[in-house]
């Protein structure tokens, strides 16, 4: 038995991290054009700040915030705005986006550096984060500055950095921690300072020993920061599971981490916070894992936000014969793509290509045999079996009584289901039919 911290239940899928875990982060080629969606985050979409024909530079704001829960977007290259229209995004939605054609020069606007970034005040840090357009980079893309501004009645005492990276295949956070541990820890310190919190934790699944070692080496000089090896178990990187594993606190049903005094940030977000505070660099690129048996040369790449997936895949040698599924994100919660002409956005942690033999059809699922496997693995302690049956039969209101809205669609139930039922689909269907 592992002594590492963890939560109750969960699953053990095949991780396949070895495909990309040894690949150092490489710089992706300058994209020919970028498509920057104005809504890459949770909250109000940004408002275009440029017009068709305008010349823009790298780091220039091209979309401004329209509310408190919102985030600006920046150009990640220099070039000319050639279109502002709806384009498909990796979530499957059509989103108003700004298309910029590169002039090949990659000229940047001047960035405001802060060599003494640790002397910035809490409000200054939050302002920097907001202006840099930083959002949660683990996938949910919630504006970070909002997460760092909890209401007064919710005192925060703990910041947890999420380096669990529990999604199979993905290694972006792993490489970031192994190669830039100092930047990640400095980012954590900035986040802690912005919240006035003394206690910092970094949770990393045990399948990343080099990352744990690198982070420990850096964190050992910091009094209030602890690195936690976590049991290799999905969904260890879910906010609520991580808080449970490290602090033993259970976020109340329908509550938020701040209800138990915790703020969880992805390690990629911490890295971006550091880059923004130290170098004045907005969030215009991120580490993306390109992996899977369907890709010729798996890699971890620093990719400019807005680069089309097709261009990224091309740089990794393209798809192999028999590649059938391209996923934005990980295999458990990522989105399957119908076109490769969708941009890498702030929340894109990976591009995963699965081959024919990894593909399992949902077409011929059978009735629930009530084996209870899903109940045994649901990290939220739900009864997915019952929920799926209620949803299947249209009893959506009843599904609510079985705590439908506590489901965060991690897919553990679908993973173990012997009847191969599309459990997540059933949950989403029910959620779309009733109000929380």
């Amino acid at each position: 038995m592992s002594k590492a911290a963890t939560f109750e239940r969960g699953i053990h899928p095949a991780y396949h991290k070895e495909l990309a875990s040894g690949k150092a982060i490489s710089q992706a080629a300058l994209p020919k054009r970028i498509v920057v969606p104005l809504s890459q985050h949770i909250g109000a979409p940004a408002k275009p700040e440029v017009n068709i024909g305008d010349e823009v530079k790298r780091g220039q704001v091209i979309g401004t915030t329209t509310g408190f829960v919102s985030s600006p977007v920046h150009s990640s290259i220099s070039g000319k705005v050639i279109a502002i229209a709806e384009f498909p995004m990796s979530t499957g939605r059509m989103v108003q986006s700004i298309v910029i054609e590169s002039d090949g020069k990659d000229e940047a606007v001047p960035f405001r550096e802060h060599p003494d970034y640790l002397n910035l005040s809490a409000d200054e840090i939050k302002a920097v984060i907001k202006d840099a357009g930083i959002v949660g980079m683990g996938g949910a893309a919630f504006p970070t500055s909002v997460k760092l501004s909890p209401p007064k009645e919710k005192p925060i005492d703990t910041v947890i950095l999420n380096g669990a990276e529990c999604e199979p295949y993905l290694t972006a956070d792993h490489r970031l921690m192994a190669e830039h541990p100092k930047a990640v820890v400095e980012g954590l310190k900035l986040i802690m300072k912005s919240l006035g919190v003394r206690e910092g934790h970094i949770g990393i699944e045990e399948n990343k020993p080099d990352a744990i070692e690198a982070m420990k080496a850096v964190a050992s000089g910091e009094e209030n920061i602890t690195v936690w090896p976590l049991e290799i178990k999905y969904p260890q990187g879910a906010e609520k599971m991580l808080i449970k594993a490290i602090k033993g606190r259970e976020v109340p049903s329908k509550g938020l981490p701040m209800d138990v005094g915790a703020v969880v940030q992805n390690v990629g977000t911490a890295f971006a916070v550091y880059e923004a505070a130290r170098f004045g660099k907005p969030l215009i690129e991120r580490v993306v894992t390109v992996t899977g048996s369907g890709i010729k040369e798996p890699a971890n790449m620093m990719v400019r936000i807005g680069t089309l997936m097709s261009e990224v895949i091309e740089q990794c040698g393209g798809l192999v014969e028999g590649a059938v599924k391209v996923i934005s994100g990980g295999p458990m919660m990522g989105f399957a793509q119908w076109t490769l002409d969708v941009p890498v956005v702030k929340g894109t942690s990976g591009i995963l290509v699965l081959s024919q033999d990894e593909y399992i059809s949902y077409d011929d699922y059978s009735a629930c045999i009530r084996c209870g496997s899903c109940i045994d693995v649901c990290p939220m302690g739900l009864n997915p079996s019952m929920l799926s049956i209620l949803s299947e039969k249209g009893f959506f209101e009843e599904a609510k009584e079985y705590n439908l809205f506590d489901c965060f669609e991690c897919g553990s139930c679908a993973f173990v289901c012997p009847a191969k039922r599309p459990m997540v689909q059933f949950m989403r269907l029910a959620k779309s039919q009733v109000k929380p």
């Binding site: 699953i11 091309e314 599924k325 919660m333 793509q337 009864n383």
Partner: protein, 339 residues
């Protein structure tokens, strides 16, 4: 671009995009396999007749499901092993020397009435094999309670009839039961290996435990139902089963005889007809055990496992409603002090 040529072939489906290896068929065939030791022992003690009865049950069950489904233009599901399992379980629950129409009628009732009419695997309320057997027991009481004496070595085509240990216990008392087997140690040993009269697959406790160990090891069943079922029977037999007052009963006789082991490990644990929340399964198991002992001690039949399981099957949906899984971060309702 090579990627563009591929794009139209991309499959889009809902997450998760990887799934575990477990399938309904794999589970069902493993359960079938886990009953192999019990089946072998049934042939050992009751001869080729045992294989004939069980085989006829299985063949009828599988054929009935196939014909029913194809004639309704549905996809046949005999490959999932559940019809085979229903036939096998029914066979192992029958006396050795029943005429040919008994397995056939029982299997038809089990598969068609108890399972397919409800919508097939997953929708049935009652354990199909037990419904089949209950129908037979009520319709043909004499045939279903005529027991052959076990011999050994795969012979015994023409065995003498005798009574089951529970039958002797009920009619003539424990002293007579011990006398029939020699002494208490002999009695326990016979019950453990299965050298006794009874339904085909229920007699050998050891063979059943070997199969149960496989299922527990694979995680296909958990301890909750079998343990609570068996423990309840043991405690009630000890507390109420004695002739000389409370807590004088012999729990081992009750544990090792009748269909308890077969019922607790292989029948009560049927996914579809038991509660799916583990805590609820404990209630279910206790209920099964209590009804079993009520029938054995006070009822008209010497054995009560079948009716106990069927009765508790009715309550499974109710238990699942009442005993819910433990929600992460459940907010306990506190009484807020008035200010």
């Amino acid at each position: 671009m090579a990627t563009e040529a591929k794009a139209h072939e991309l499959i889009v489906s809902v997450s998760p995009h990887v799934r575990g290896k477990e399938t309904v068929a794999r589970i069902m065939w493993t359960v079938n396999l886990s009953l192999l030791p019990a089946f072998i022992m049934s042939v050992w003690y009751f001869g080729p007749l045992a294989a004939y009865v069980t085989g006829l049950c299985i063949a009828t069950a599988v054929l009935a499901e196939h014909i029913y489904q194809t004639s309704l233009k549905k996809k046949t599901t005999i490959g999932d092993g559940s019809a085979f399992l229903t036939g096998l379980l029914l066979g192992l629950n029958l006396p050795p020397s029943v005429p040919f129409f008994i397995p056939i009628i029982g299997s038809l009732i089990a598969v068609i009435i108890a399972k397919l009419i409800f919508g097939g695997l997953g929708y049935n309320i009652f354990n199909p094999a037990f419904i089949g057997r209950a129908f037979l027991l009520i319709s043909f009481p004499k045939l279903l309670t005529t027991w052959s004496e076990p011999t050994a070595q795969f012979v015994a085509l023409d065995a003498k009839t005798t009574a089951t240990p529970l039958g002797i216990l009920k009619e003539e008392g424990i002293a007579r039961l011990v006398e029939v087997f020699g002494d208490k140690t002999e009695l326990y040993m016979s019950l453990l290996v299965g050298h006794r009269a009874g339904s085909l697959g229920e007699t050998s406790v050891i063979a059943l435990l070997i199969g149960a160990a496989l299922l527990l090891y694979r995680g296909y069943i958990t301890w909750h139902i079998p343990f609570s079922f068996i423990a309840t029977v043991g405690v009630m037999a000890w507390a109420l089963g004695g002739d000389s007052g409370l807590f004088t009963g012999d729990p081992l006789i009750h544990l090792f005889s009748g269909g308890l082991m077969l019922g607790a490990f292989f029948m009560a644990t049927d996914y579809v007809t038991c509660p799916s929340v583990r805590k609820g399964q404990i209630i279910f198991g206790i209920g099964c055990g209590a009804i079993t002992m009520l029938i054995r001690l006070k009822g008209g039949f010497p054995e009560g496992v079948m009716f106990a399981v069927l009765l508790m099957n009715c309550f499974a949906p109710l238990i699942d409603r009442g005993v819910k899984s433990e929600l992460f971060g459940a907010v306990r309702k506190k009484k807020e002090p008035k200010t």
